[in-house]
C-alpha cells in the first residue's frame, strides 16, 4: 500500500469516497466471490467485483480506476443482492469509484461522455432538442395536458422519459400509454418541454454532480406543481425518484407504469376485449424487478389479456438476465464489446427463443430497441417480436397509436 499521503492508492482515499458511513461496508468484504460468480460481465472484466474490492483494499485503487472494468458494470444488481455482507456494490461502490476516477481526470469511454454531455446540455441522453420533447404527442387522438402551460392541479403526473419522448420506436408506447390512461379516465398530465431525464443512470455511472443538478432542477420544477403521484414508464426513473431523490430531501410518491396499471386491473380488464393468441415471455427488468421485487404486476397485466399464454424463461424474476442497458450500459456497448464482453441482450433473446415464445414482453424503454436489435443479430427476428406491455394492452384494447 502506498504511503504517499493523498495518493490515489492510499486506503484513506478509499475511505474518503463519497459514501456515507453506513455504506463503508465494502471494507467488510470476505472475498467469497459470489459477486464475481454472479456478474454477467465478470468473465470479461480485468477486475470483476471481488477483485475490484481486493485491489482497492490493497492500495491499488489507481489500477482499478484506470482499468476498462470500471466502465463495464451495467447495474444489474445481482452482485449486490447476493452479497452475504450486503455490500452495496451497484448503488454505492461502483458509482463512487467512477466519480473519483473522473475527478482524477480519468476519462470515461467516449460514448458515455457524449451521453453525459447531452444530458448536461439538453436534459436528455439522445442529444435532441428540448423543444421537441412533446412531438411524440402530435396528432394524438386524446388530450394531453401540459403543466408547463396549464399548471392547474392533476392527479397523476406522468414523466414520459427520454426514449418514449424522442426515439421513434418508443414514441409508439408513449402514445398508447396516453390512450390507456385516458381510457381509464385517469386525471393525468405531463410537464411538456420542461421535462428532463431523472438522472438515475448518470448517478450510477459516477456523474454525481450531473445527477445533483437534475435533482435540483426537478425539485424546483415539481414543487411548484400540484399532483398526487408520479408515474413513469422508465424503471430507472422510478428508482431515482424512490431511492435517491429522497437523499437530497426531495420526496415525491412514484409508481412504475406496470404497477400503476396493475392496481387498476379491475377497470382495465373489461377493456381488454381483443385476444392476443400468442405465447409471451416477460423479461424482468433489473431496476423495478430485481431491485424492488416488482415481478407480479407485469405478469398480472399479461395474464389479463385474453388468449395470452405466459411462459417463463430459464432465468426469470430474481434470476433474470440483464439486457445490458441499465446503469449507463446503454452507452457502453462499444466499450464492452471492445473488451470482450458479450452482448447481454443477445443472450436474453436466445433464452426467449428457447422458451418457445412468440413475443418477448418488456417494461423498460431501453429494452425495446436492445432486444429488437438482438433479435436481428441472433437470427430470431422472424420468431420473436419484442413488445412493451403497454403495446400489448393497447392492442387488446383495440387502440391505434393515434396515427
Amino acid at each position: 500500500m502506498s504511503t504517499q499521503t493523498g495518493s490515489i492508492d492510499d486506503l484513506a482515499v478509499l475511505q474518503d469516497l463519497p459514501l456515507p458511513p453506513s455504506r463503508q461496508t465494502f471494507l467488510h468484504c470476505m472475498q467469497c466471490g459470489s459477486c464475481t460468480g454472479s456478474c454477467p460481465l465478470g468473465p470479461a472484466m480485468e477486475y470483476p467485483p471481488r477483485q475490484l474490492i481486493l485491489q482497492a483494499r490493497s492500495g491499488k485503487l489507481r489500477k482499478v480506476m484506470e482499468s476498462p472494468s470500471l466502465w463495464m458494470c451495467v447495474g444489474c444488481y445481482v452482485c449486490s443482492l447476493r452479497c452475504p455482507r450486503s455490500i452495496e456494490l451497484t448503488d454505492a461502490l461502483w458509482p463512487a469509484l467512477r466519480d473519483r476516477a473522473m475527478q482524477e481526470g480519468i476519462q470515461p469511454p467516449g460514448e458515455l461522455q457524449e451521453a453525459f454531455h447531452n444530458i448536461h446540455l439538453y436534459g436528455n441522453s439522445l442529444g435532441k432538442s428540448p423543444r421537441r420533447r412533446t412531438r411524440w404527442a402530435e396528432g394524438l387522438d386524446v388530450p394531453v395536458r401540459d403543466l408547463s402551460r396549464d399548471p392547474s392541479p392533476t392527479d397523476v403526473l406522468w414523466i414520459v422519459g427520454d426514449y418514449p419522448s424522442f426515439y421513434p420506436r418508443n414514441q409508439v408506447v408513449a402514445r398508447q400509454f396516453a390512450q390507456i390512461l385516458t381510457a381509464l379516465e385517469v386525471d393525468w398530465a405531463i410537464v411538456g418541454n420542461k421535462e428532463r431525464t431523472l438522472g438515475d443512470c448518470e448517478r450510477l455511472y459516477g456523474e454525481e454532480g450531473l445527477f445533483e443538478s437534475l435533482v435540483e432542477y426537478h425539485r424546483d420544477l415539481l414543487e411548484e406543481l400540484q399532483f398526487n403521484l408520479i408515474v413513469t414508464l422508465d424503471p430507472h426513473g422510478y428508482r431515482a425518484l424512490r431511492h435517491y431523490y429522497p437523499r437530497w430531501g426531495v420526496h415525491f410518491p412514484v409508481q412504475h407504469a406496470a404497477n400503476f396499471l396493475a392496481d387498476r386491473l379491475d377497470q382495465l380488464k373489461p377493456l381488454l376485449t381483443k385476444p392476443i393468441e400468442r405465447t409471451i415471455t416477460y423479461h424482468d427488468n433489473c431496476c423495478a424487478g430485481r431491485r424492488y421485487g416488482n415481478f407480479d404486476a407485469p405478469r398480472d397485466l399479461l395474464r389479463a389479456i385474453p388468449g395470452v399464454e405466459l411462459v417463463e424463461m430459464d432465468h426469470h424474476r430474481e434470476t433474470a438476465l440483464c439486457c445490458g442497458g441499465g446503469g449507463g450500459g446503454m452507452w457502453l456497448d462499444s466499450h464492452i464489446a471492445a473488451h470482450g464482453g458479450p452482448r447481454l441482450s443477445d443472450q436474453r433473446v436466445r433464452e426467449a427463443a428457447t422458451a418457445q415464445a412468440d413475443i418477448l414482453a418488456v417494461s423498460c424503454p431501453f429494452e425495446l430497441s436492445r432486444f429488437e436489435d438482438s433479435a436481428k443479430v441472433t437470427g430470431f427476428e422472424d420468431q420473436i417480436q419484442v413488445r412493451d406491455i403497454v403495446e400489448l394492452l393497447a392492442q387488446s384494447m383495440d387502440l391505434t397509436s393515434g396515427e
Binding site: 473522473m102 475527478q103 470515461p108 453525459f116 439538453y122 421537441r132 456523474e207 454532480g209 445533483e212
Partner: protein, 259 residues
Amino acid sequence: MNIAVPIRHVVDLIEPMTLVESQTQIDYDDASFVINETDDHALEQALLLSDRIPGSSVIVMAVDFGDVDASLYAALAKGAAKAIRVAYDGDQPPSADQAAAAFAQLVRELECELVLAGSYAHGEIDGMLGPALAHELQWPYVGVVRGVRLSGEAADRATVFKEFPGAVMAELTVSVPAVIGVVGAEQPPRYVPVSRIRSVMKSSEIEDRELTIPEGASHVEIARFEVPSTGQRAQMLSGDTEELVMEVAKILHEQGISP
C-alpha cells in the same frame, strides 16, 4: 508562457432555427448557444501544451454573446488559469474583425505568446477570427491544424500538422509568437465532471473586461436568410454505377439544383 484561447458561442443547430421578420438575421433571442466545436479543440490543445511546458498558463477569453459563462467555467474546470468575459451589447454576434480587435487587446496586455483559436465557426460570415487576429497582432497564422508541438529553448517554435484536402498532412514550423487555427486537438476535448464545474462556479470568478470594440458594419450584407426545408421521404436508387449517376443527375436537374 501564456497561451490565449478565444472562444465563441455559436447557435446550437439541434434547435429549430427561427429568423427575424425581415428574414435577414437569425432570431438570436430565440436561439440557444453552444461552444464552437473547433474552439473546444483549441482549448484542449492549449491545455495539452500547458501540461508539457512548466510555468505556462491557458487564458480563455470570450466576447459576451450567447451565454458564454457555462463554457468559461467549464474551461476553468478543465484547467485554464483564467477566464475573461468581454462586455458586448450588440444584438448579433461580433464580426471577426470586432472580435479580433477585442482579443488582440487582451493578448497584448496579458503578454500571451501563443494564440490557439478554432479554425472556423459556422456563424462566421465575413471572415475568420484566426487570420483577423493574426493581422491585428501582426503575427504569423497557420490554420486547419491538427496537433501542435512547441520546441526551441524558449519554446519559440511551433511544429504544426496542417490538413490539406485529399488526406494530405503537412508538417510545418512556425515561429512563436503565432496564431494557430486548430481544427482538431491531439486528443478529443477532455470530459470534466459536472461536480467540478459546479465547484469552480463557487470558487472561481470570471474576470469582466470592458474593451474598445470597433463599431461598423460587416463587410457582408445579408440579402436573405432561409431555413432549409427538410424532406419527409427517401428515394432508394438502384442500378449499376452509370445508371445511378444518370438518375442522380436527373433528380438534381428536376429539383432545380443543377442546370
